[in-house]
Amino acid sequence: MRDLSQRALDAASAAGASYADCRVINRTVQRLTVKNGVVASVELFEDEGIGIRVIAGGAWGFAGVDDLSAESVEETARHAVRIANASSRVNRTPVHLAPAPALVGEYRTPVGRDPFEVSLDDKVGLLMRTDEAMSHLPQIRVRECSLEFVREQRHFASSEGAALDQTIIESGGGLDATATSDDEVQTRSFPNSFGRHQVCSGWEAIEAFDLPGNAGRIAEEAVALLTAAQCPAGRMTVILDATQAALQVHESCGHPTELDRVLGHEAAYAGTSFLTPDLLGTFRYGSEHVTMTADSTRAPGLGTFGWDDEGVAAQRSVLVDQGIFTGYLSSRETAAAIGQVSNGTMRADGWARLPIIRMTNINLEPGTSSLEEMIATTEHGVYLETNRSWSIDDRRLNFQFGTQNGWEIVDGKRTRLVRNPIYSGQTPEFWGSCDAVAGPAEWHMFGVVNCGKGQPPQSMHVGHGAAPCRFRNVRVEPAG
């Protein structure tokens, strides 16, 4: 890998690049899916290539290729320079990078048991046991469970002298049970929705999920939802489970603190942000119970690594400190635009994509309450579990989320199951109404594996630590 990267950097410099970096990436993915008692697919995916990023004429250029012959790599580097030169003829403002030390090192995700050393037979066996545990209810029309394992070897090198080798390992799994009746369809998922829960960890994470042990309960909950009462409507107290809190953090804190959005780089696609630089350090984003961090050192989140994709070391930054907006996710270029240095959040979806600012592990720091205490001190409200739908505006203010199920709370007690709940609000008002966050014992790291951003589209795996939390006077209603 080092020979290839040096060849790429030399070719870029010879073609006129004032700066160049490259990432040689080898990615192996296993995906196994069992559906309705049948192994629906076992997909084994290998991917290798190089992405070369340059500055020439004061503009960026990027080119990637999966042909790793010397001639191909050199020509790709020259093409990146041609692209930069073409852009430089339109641009007036040259790219400026905040300084960053040129680092050398190695990092490997700590794992108990390498998931690629577990046989496919054992993995299929676990999924078949999970499926079997959901098969006892005739109302369950679709049973689906899956596992995914990723091993990504990354070599990063830059014309400034950085040379970094990383091996990132991810393990994920989950199950969905879908129940149907003549006029209703309801799905319950575990440990999280949209296919699976994933972390930077080894096979031990899958064993800890205990998919077979939870499958029967989840299937029964899906069936119960078919005849559950519709969620009540009105303004009321909402308690989010940790998985839904994680997605709320993702959409309403993670994305709006991306500094490239703030500077307009994503204005035509993902959007901008209400968290403009003039608000930094003074804007009340939430209540005093709300502290949020970006922490790429916090295992086992999917945003845990040694260095980001422009060679900046993993670190912890405070984004919201006891309710006050205090920081952004940044890159060397965007940090320079506001007089700061990068806090290491540039990430790319493989070798073929340009690194852009992405979430690492964006965490709602634990509080001092507990789910039990929150319910016990709620007169009337709903406890909402597991995301079903999510939507938020392009500045990340106006949101509406739906969850798979809810529990009505009356006089401090969890009473009846309710279906089709949705809740909505405006980001600062919502977080401003947060009056409790559960403590470390109920705080868990979750993974989002479908975070979309960028053109061409990039799908990123990001982490979110969160605990159950409570919000007052929230608009709640049934969907459909």
């Binding site: 559906k35 049948v38 192994v39 629906a40 697919s41 076992v42 084994l44 995916f45 290998e46 991917d47 290798e48 290539g49 960026w60 250029g61 990027f62 080119a63 990637g64 290729v65 999966d66 042909d67 790793l68 790709t76 041609r82 692209i83 930069a84 073409a86 852009s87 003829r89 339109v90 496919l120 037979d121 993995k123 029309r141 679709v142 689906e144 879908t178 149907t180 369809v185 307009g264 780089h265 204005a267 035509a268 696609y269 073929a352 994509r353 079903r388 739908s389 999510w390 939507s391 938020i392 505006d393 392009d394 106006n398 509406q400 739906g402 909505s424 053109q455 061409p456 969907a479 459909g480």
Partner: protein
């Protein structure tokens, strides 16, 4: 490599097959994209890759191996991975490889040499038409121009050999002023057919008209939806209901023979029409047939792949995604029939309502009832007494698509080719809808 070279590569692999059956899909992609923000190019990228997918069927088991790489060993790696996969899969419900059908043709295909040959310099020059127009009006332009060429070959041991080279050029732009923005996009197989100056005029005009928006109360409004917004409705219908698997699993709103929408609504999937990025075959190599999904408001048919067709005792309509999969077939060339009303006359027939340029972040809330939610974005205007009177702040809607389409008043005679969020082509008209629900 050319399509013939990819076919030869696949032929060699199939010829070396010792036992069982195999399908090889090879796709060579060259994709370049120039992105701009604040009237400057801030990202410009290129990618060249080969994706090989092998499906092996032997002893009643199916395995899949995928490799992205140009290495000479790539195809052998894919076969080895597929064999590793095959050994651990179930022995039931194997979907057979489709046989070639007499009369199969590898055309029409959306292809233009100009797109395949477009250079970074040419893209930069096209982008500058927009940025200069924006600068002349003291607004900022943002967006992306992409040019993609893909050569796909599918070769199977059942004798099927299909190949096609397609191109796609896409230009999307937002213009932003001090207090509001506009949106416009154009898509074509041919980058030279993109009317960039027309797009620039539209996006700047919408931006200038959308400054200083004021709020209106949420509630039910009569609306005129532009094709950008209609595309979201059609794409979500395709995802949640037009698949045979969704019907078989009781997840679809489609009740065949029942009228669920206005008689003015006809929705088809037609991969052969030149209007919607034509492509001759699906990911099983089966020729894609035109399917009328909604016929004058009546649920008429859904699309099939081989597994769902076997389940229902019919033949595949050629809408398969790569097999095997758990998500089922998908229409990827959806078009709504045009009506006979010029779109601007729709506005003149609205006494009080909203004109919606586009939706954003549209998500399914209750798929069976086709309830979706999302926001309006970059161009929401109040219509009063037949005229657009002022811009209004963006609103959240939560609305059943089929209920909205049941209340269609007029369909425009003009249509536009759009790309949905899933990047499939959608041919959409303007729609005048009697009631649409905005919640906040």
């Amino acid at each position: 490599m050319s399509a013939d070279e990819l076919l030869a590569l696949g032929d060699g692999a199939i010829a070396a097959l010792a036992h069982g059956e195999a399908e090889v899909i090879i796709a060579d992609t060259r994709s370049e994209l120039t992105r701009f923000a604040g009237n400057e190019i801030h990202q410009s990228v290129a990618e060249r890759s080969r994706h090989i997918r092998v499906r092996l069927i032997d002893g009643g088991r199916t395995g899949v191996g995928e490799v992205r790489g140009h290495d000479d060993r790539a195809i052998a790696l894919a076969f080895a991975a597929a064999e590793d996969s095959r050994r651990v899969t179930s022995t039931s419900d194997v979907s057979p490889l489709p046989a070639p059908t007499p009369g199969d043709r590898d055309d029409p295909v959306a292809f233009a040499e100009a797109t395949a040959a477009a250079t970074p310099q040419e893209r930069a020059e096209l982008v500058s038409i927009i940025t200069e127009a924006a600068a002349a009006h003291r607004v900022n332009a943002y967006g992306a121009l992409s040019a993609t060429t893909t050569t796909t070959a599918i070769i199977t041991s059942a004798g099927l050999r299909r190949s096609a080279t397609s191109t796609q050029a896409s230009l999307v732009s937002v213009a932003r002023g001090d207090d509001g923005g506009g949106y416009a996009s154009r898509h074509s197989a041919d980058i030279d057919a993109l009317d960039v100056a027309d797009l620039a005029a539209e996006v700047v005009d919408t931006c200038e008209r959308n400054q200083g928006a004021t709020a209106v109360d949420p509630g039910d409004y009569e609306v005129v939806l532009s094709p950008y917004a209609v595309t979201d409705l059609l794409e979500h219908l395709a995802w949640v209901g037009f698949s045979a698997l969704a019907v078989q699993e009781h997840r679809s709103f489609m009740r065949i023979g029942e009228q669920l929408m206005s008689g003015s609504i006809t929705i088809r999937d037609d991969a052969r029409t030149p209007d919607v990025f034509p492509f001759p075959f699906d990911d099983e190599g089966v020729s894609t047939q035109p399917v009328t999904l909604i016929d004058r408001g009546v649920c008429r048919a859904v699309v099939y792949d081989t597994p769902t067709a076997l389940q229902d005792g019919v033949t595949s309509t050629g809408h398969s995604m790569p097999q095997p999969n758990t998500w089922g077939p998908l229409p990827r060339h959806v078009a709504m029939d045009a009506g006979d009303t010029p779109w601007h006359e729709m506005i003149s027939s609205v006494s009080r309502g909203l004109y919606i340029t586009r939706f954003w972040y549209v998500r399914d809330v209750h798929p069976l009832r086709t309830v979706i939610t999302g926001m309006t974005r970059e161009g929401t205007f109040l219509i009063e007494n037949g005229s657009i009177t002022r811009p209004v702040k963006d609103l959240r809607f939560t609305q059943s698509i089929i209920e909205a389409l049941a209340g269609v008043v007029q369909v425009s005679r003009e249509r536009r080719l759009e790309l949905g969020e899933g990047e499939s082509g959608v041919l959409s008209p303007w729609l005048h809808i009697g009631r649409f629900s905005f919640t906040s």
